[in-house]
Symmetry: C2
Subunit: 267 residues, 2 copies
DNA sequence: CGTACCGTTGAGGTGAGTCAAAGTAAGTGG
DNA sequence: CCACTTACTTTGACTCACCTCAACGGTACG
């Protein structure tokens, strides 16, 4: 029965990936930033399974611009970004690329297609040099089949990740660009923000305006205007991709307080 | 270890749900329309587990307007709509209700919150009388822990369902209303369409204009205008919630052919 | 026979898209 | 080190799809 479900063992073991993938050395996921680590740490793997995990896992470096996988590719396993930034996008109804998700260190990618046993619906392209590890489908299936705890932790992580993504990329899609952009800044600050000497928060945005715009379902010009407006109000200072936020509370109050003056409309 | 993961057994067994829930009679999911059926059918459950499934599953009828669960409620289990139509919505940043998903016969609801072990982020309200069955978290966990095949089939179904939903509710959110509405019609036809005597396709829309608009992130007036336009072009005839589509191909060609004249823009 | 809500239509306003152009930064090669 | 190219960003002017507001007809219901 298990064999019947696994659509194609041969194509799922990673052997058909392009060559630059290498077997991961000591991929016990004790590596910092591997998103699977939290799902594995507390699971009492038997030695044989640890070996399988280590032997089957592949790692690879991607240059800026390289595609990690493409729309339409079979989902051969689970990807985990260990460092760098990649962008997931698809071709919309007008054949324009639409970005759906930015992924970075620790993020798991490709899980939906993997578990749906369907081809990828997005393309993952490295925006910077990326170090990615790949867990073949057979390995994931073996571990989820053998260790219910692993399975539960994995699906919990995936469900939680999805929950936090949904806020910006689904729930806020119809709000004004200004709101979506501030929300985006908050997400970037949470992930990439550092507090500098003056007590200000600084963020280095890992993506360019065009891609920000695409993520927000907007145009680069509109993003530029939102930026100009925030600068005029003194809520954020932009220098290329470097953002300084003098007062986080003041900035985020804009989106948090919208509810107070809201429409309270019923569906 | 399993105990530590299960955050709260007491609140998860369904006992704390409001009283109208009753133990499901013979819930072996041989019932037509139960969305879990396809995940259960081929799994060799032991008798004890079949008994647990049957004994723990609850069923309940909801009147139009009743809430099946609410935003903020703990996710106590998995819901499955057996008949009727319900709407999932949340309060947006302006405290207005925003519909995210229409569910009907066979649909599984609440899975993300359940597996994330987080509260529901949406409210599910019955739009018609709804017959709903409820699988307590303890049951689901027991079955996924015991039967890897069940686990895999369940997650496959959930991943696939999500994939098809994403098309309209994520990927198409930024297309013109006309496109989103036609896409919505196609989904409705697929699910509720019948071919009448004249060979025309008829669909009875289960929701009102305001809710269609909310699903499409638009205003009821804009939906009305989209409807008027389609009628003027002879692509569809509307009579309240009854839609007649004389030529499906002609209607859907509008969205399918957009790609041909697209912008081909890169992110 | 009101009252209430849904659906449609019109008039008018506006946020964001489009188009075009200028400014800026990052290479590249001589 | 400086021209030159190329790509990214910003700005302004214009346009338009959709929203807002308001009015009106239809239907359900007490």
């Amino acid at each position: 029965m298990a064999q019947k479900i696994m659509s194609d063992q041969a194509s799922a073991n990673g052997d058909e990936l392009e060559r630059p993938w290498r077997v991961g050395p000591t991929i016990t996921c004790a590596h910092i930033g591997c998103g699977l680590q939290s799902c594995i740490r507390d699971v009492p793997f038997r030695t044989a399974d640890t070996t399988i995990l280590e032997r089957s896992t592949l790692v690879r470096n991607f240059e800026r611009g390289e595609k990690i996988f493409s729309e339409g590719d079979a989902a051969a396993g689970l990807y985990c970004v260990r460092s760098g930034v990649a962008l997931l996008s698809y071709k919309d109804a007008f054949r324009a690329d639409k970005a759906v998700r930015m992924v970075g260190s620790g993020d798991l990618v490709g899980s939906r297609s993997l578990f749906a046993e369907e081809p990828h619906v997005t393309t993952a392209e490295a925006l910077t040099g990326c170090h990615v590890c790949f867990f073949p489908k057979t390995t994931i299936v073996r571990l989820t089949d053998t260790y219910p705890l692993f399975s539960r932790l994995l699906f919990r992580k995936l469900a939680r990740d999805r929950g936090s993504r949904n806020v910006l990329f689904i729930r806020e899609q119809h709000l004004p660009i200004r709101f979506r952009f501030i929300h985006f800044l908050r997400m970037m600050e949470k992930r990439y923000g550092v507090t500098n000497g003056n007590g200000n928060v600084c963020v280095k945005l890992p993506i360019m305006r065009r891609q920000i715009a695409s993520l927000l379902s907007a145009r680069p010009e509109s993003v530029a205007r939102a930026i100009t407006e925030l600068e005029r109000e003194g809520l954020a200072i932009f220098d290329g991709r470097d953002v300084t936020i003098p007062d986080s509370n003041a900035l985020y109050r804009i989106i948090d307080e919208a509810a107070a003056v809201g429409t309270h409309e019923k569906v």
